[in-house]
Symmetry: C2
């Protein structure tokens, strides 16, 4: 009612009111104090409680609704939602960063490179309509002296023409593409396979050994850009995804 800005009248210590309302409410929900279905206070009640304007409360509640913690119903109020089907933010880093996080020296090696007209298989992988030029790459990523990951990549040269002139001897295609091509969508497919001979040799493991395969397809503004298949030897890699619903 009186103060403006981030300095708060009473209990607050430098945190914005917005933040305080957000954390207060999400804490009550996550701790279970406000069970699913529970009606949280009306905007005008929170307005009185926090001694602030309705807009401030409204912004905070709208954000909680967008984060999926509450559901807002006109005329009825805002209600705690039932826990959602679990979703996790899966971050897939640059392999170099991943390897270096392990404290091991990283090395990249380009095994093969071929510019060709897209085959039917290429088009299926890229979800490409008409045939066009693509660049097929095969690479290895090392952690120390051990092979860490095997990479098979297709780049749609219609979408990224400049890739045709790049040898990819020193730079891995991943980091090269990131930062050069804005991407609008990506799809991951994660599965376990038995290593086929070719890949087993590249990873220095036995044929038939279990491997984790991560495939990623990337689009930029409706155009398919690239398809990658990373193969990791089972013991070398675990994907970790952590999720906290309060996406402040």
């Amino acid at each position: 009612m009186s103060t403006i800005g981030t300095v708060d009248a009473d209990g607050g210590e430098g945190v914005s009111l917005h933040q305080r309302i957000l954390s207060d409410i999400s804490e009550r929900i996550l701790s279970g104090a406000w069970a699913p279905g529970h009606r949280i206070p009306f905007e005008h009640e929170l307005t009185a409680q926090y001694k602030c304007s309705r807009m401030t409360v409204n912004k905070a509640l709208s954000q909680l609704a967008k984060a999926g913690l509450i559901e807002r119903r006109r005329r009825s109020g805002s209600f705690v939602r039932r826990p959602q089907s679990q979703a996790a933010v899966l971050e897939i880093h640059d392999i170099r960063i991943e390897v270096e996080a392990l404290g091991l020296p990283y090395r990249y090696e380009r095994v093969a490179r071929q510019k060709r007209r897209s085959s039917a298989e290429d088009r299926a992988l890229l979800e490409l309509g008409p045939a066009g030029p693509v660049l097929a790459l095969e690479c290895r990523h090392f952690a120390g002296i051990r092979p860490f990951a095997h990479e098979q990549r297709l780049i749609n040269l219609t979408a990224v023409a400049e890739a045709a002139d790049e040898a990819f001897l020193g730079t891995a295609p991943g980091p090269w593409l990131i930062g050069r091509v804005p991407w609008s969508a990506a799809e991951h497919r994660i599965r376990a396979v038995a290593a086929e001979k070719h890949i087993a040799a590249a990873l220095d493991i036995e044929a038939g050994a279990p491997c984790l395969v991560v495939e990623r397809r990337t689009w930029s503004a409706e155009h398919p850009v690239t398809h990658v298949r990373f193969t990791y030897a089972a013991e070398s890699h675990t994907l970790v995804a952590r999720f906290t619903p309060s996406r402040t």
Copy 2:
């Protein structure tokens, strides 16, 4: 400057200004028209362009910043961020729903159930401090007549006392827990393994065959609630995660 509400003066057709600004700008960024590093118009310029108040523009830009598309710098303006390390929203559904989506009849079977004092291994899996009662479950999920997934679960009875009285013969522990326990965090670990004898038998595959293992640990307000390990035969399962950065 003149109209209020969702009805728009000129071009808009029922969409809120907020939404229109959001989609206009993110489209320009994702299409590459505004490259990384590019300074997007100042708030006061957008205010003039959309003939609206600064607050409306500010809310939209703040949202884009929170979504990671732009970076805002005081005194300097707002800039298109470089494409981030790719992150995907990985949704892990109820297995029943997954199976039924395949058009196959779902069946659940509880193989074993044991209430015990947590062993050292249990405590490591749950990240539990002091020893306490836990419930260990082993289950199978079927798609048609074929085993689809094998489930090994630990439930921390200190956190969820009521689970002690549940036999889990008809209901799988996943759906039972969801909706009963609010959860605040989850961690997934995904990896490939060779099937050990016990699990190979349960899944009706050969020992040593590659399997996809998804482990999930769940907390509720700092208390570990449950640890699950799902094992899928390689050919039966692929995790798919799709991501579009415009998280409207």
